[in-house]
Assembly symmetry: C2
Homo-oligomer: 368 residues x 2
């Protein structure tokens, strides 16, 4: 079925780009985040997304993507019992979480793979980005993503973390590596940076092209306040700080060939993970030397006055509050602190911003 449509209405909101009077091109292809063999959801070369959901006896099917708070995209029922619909405008490049609403209930799209975000496993869709090459799966040497279970006496359990070890790690038995501790955002978990962020592929590609020296990345679960919605105001960093500094780092330093010194240890995080990074790096100034806040706030000169920091990296998307990042960077620079910043063009508080931020940050780590 050919389907042309003029996007008369368009609103600037999360994940949606303004597009006035643009004809929808009928070159839709299955999203790369679909389950194997699933034809829908689809995306076209302009960034429109199209959905197709089977629910023959339903009265209403909506998709949360498209117009954000305005109710997303309403699907229409065909005679075959399938509901279809296309977003009213093109989406931002990169990865988006979404879900569908069937007769008032929240479900996932049976065609899409699931990604942990918003404190639930959500559907995911990928709008091909012009710069997708830097996180593509290529024919280069690949590192590993290792799931470890490390003892956590403070939480009385074994906790999970994922550890990226670069290509060559197994062969170069005499080499020790710096470590980046990299945190996810609110409602996500330790799977986010690999699954949504492709952190391992970003690293493999940067290493293959010689842009960075190999290092290890450690990713663990940072929702220490667990499933308390709206609890960020009363956020207590202590439980997670204990897990990170007293339990995870010693375990990693014992079980991987690390350079076990603050001078070769970085912490960074996105969104809430940036807030955690700021708190922990300032509470424990002897543990990390490189700090990264990705859409996760800023440091002021007085924050880091008594701290031996080698680099502060600040970033966000151009659709967030880039002026805050720029102003903070300027102040830190003026005060003589080592700082670098990055604004991701055309993206919001979503993973494309953070994939790009990791790519920009990685070459600046462990260089001093």
């Amino acid at each position: 079925m050919r389907h042309y449509k003029i996007a008369l209405l368009s609103f600037l909101c999360l994940g949606t780009t303004i597009a006035l009077g643009q004809a929808v091109k009928e070159d839709f292809k299955p999203s790369t985040k679909n389950q194997p063999g699933k034809e829908y959801p689809q995306v076209n070369s302009q960034g429109y997304a199209r959905f197709k959901i089977e629910a023959p006896a339903a009265d209403s099917v909506r998709v949360s993507l498209g117009l954000g708070g305005r109710g997303g995209t309403k699907l229409e029922k065909g005679e075959d019992g399938f509901w279809t619909g296309t977003t009213e405008g093109p989406m931002d490049e990169g990865f988006h979480y979404y879900h569908i609403n069937v007769d008032g209930g929240t479900f996932n799209d049976p065609g899409a793979k699931n990604y942990y975000g918003s404190v639930r496993w959500e559907s995911g869709i990928e709008i091909p980005a012009h710069d997708q090459d830097f996180y593509a799966l290529k024919d280069v040497p690949h590192g590993k993503v290792e799931q470890i279970l490390f003892p956590s006496p403070s939480s009385n359990t074994s906790r999970r973390a994922f550890v990226y070890t670069p290509p060559g790690y197994a062969q170069n038995q005499n080499k020790n590596y710096p470590v980046l501790y990299l945190q996810h955002g609110w409602g996500e978990d330790e799977t986010a940076w690999s699954n949504q962020g492709h952190a391992n592929l970003i690293m493999d590609n940067l290493i293959a092209e010689g842009t960075i020296e190999p290092f290890i990345i450690v990713m663990t679960y940072g929702m220490t306040n667990e499933i308390k919605f709206g609890g960020l105001r009363n956020f207590d960093i202590t439980p997670f700080q204990t897990v990170m500094v007293d339990e995870l780092i010693p375990y990693v330093d014992k079980n991987f060939r690390t350079v076990a010194e603050a001078s070769h240890r970085a912490m960074a995080g996105l969104s809430m993970g940036g807030m955690e990074t700021k708190m922990i790096t300032l509470n424990k100034p002897d543990v990390f030397s490189y700090y990264g806040l990705l859409s996760g706030g800023t440091y002021a000169p007085e924050d880091v006055d008594k701290v031996d920091v080698k680099l502060i990296f600040l970033s966000c998307g151009s659709k967030e509050r880039p002026e805050a990042i720029k102003a903070a960077t300027e102040k830190l620079k003026e005060a003589g602190f080592p700082v670098a910043s990055y604004i991701s063009e055309g993206t919001a508080h979503e993973f494309q911003t953070w994939r790009r931020s990791l790519k920009e940050m990685a070459p600046k780590l462990f260089t001093k």
Copy 2:
């Protein structure tokens, strides 16, 4: 709401146990396979499962579990817009895949985690088993589950595998380990043995209690015929055999400290993975010495007549066709072949059978 019910009707079918005149105990708890913080689905001490799904405007909500082919469990709508219902009888112990049907469409339960089975990401639920201790997460040294991306010229891509390395692997740099190549079933993928099967925890526990010598497990994707339904009749093992024997094994032997000899290499698989194991072990008799078919068929003496096999392990659930396993075992024994078999009591063609089979098989591997 208290809810007593006499199970008047009861049918013997997949995942359901006969229970006549049994009162349903109101000691329901969230399934251990739920998403963090989700109250439903729940299970009680008798093995009943209870579901609660929000869909205020739906006309019909059913759960695929409960009475198998007879349409599963029909949920009833409450005034709060939530649909609830309890299975008509207790379920078999262990892990079950399921999905829900909302007004004719197939969706997952928003409360449950998802597991790849039936060629889609399905909801999963866990009925606590009397012997669940052997795959529990305990305070013992834990091995790693490492995601590798290995080059596959035959399929022109990098393919994913998961590699379990036992505790101590990183420290004992002079030790080399035997390897078990362990395959999933039809419609599953390389995540199944860790996620549904808890293979890593089974190994950690067996090693901690001194029941086995540590070995490596490698798990990769075996659906070489990809998403062709009903295609098992015309199954061509060649593409997967090439990936396994010519690409994966050399990569593992190069990148892990293995004993790279047939005498220290095993292959086993569940269901379709057993069929693949049988085909590959017989086509490539110089590659593996230990063979395991878990609910995956049998070997006849004439199959292995010209093969230097150190052990054949055959297993299935008591609700499958145990007489076939017993008969094949007897024939192999009479013909003088080294064979061991195991029947999992009270389980069907599901993961509890295979968790137990791995636990029974592991101590018999690499002992000759």
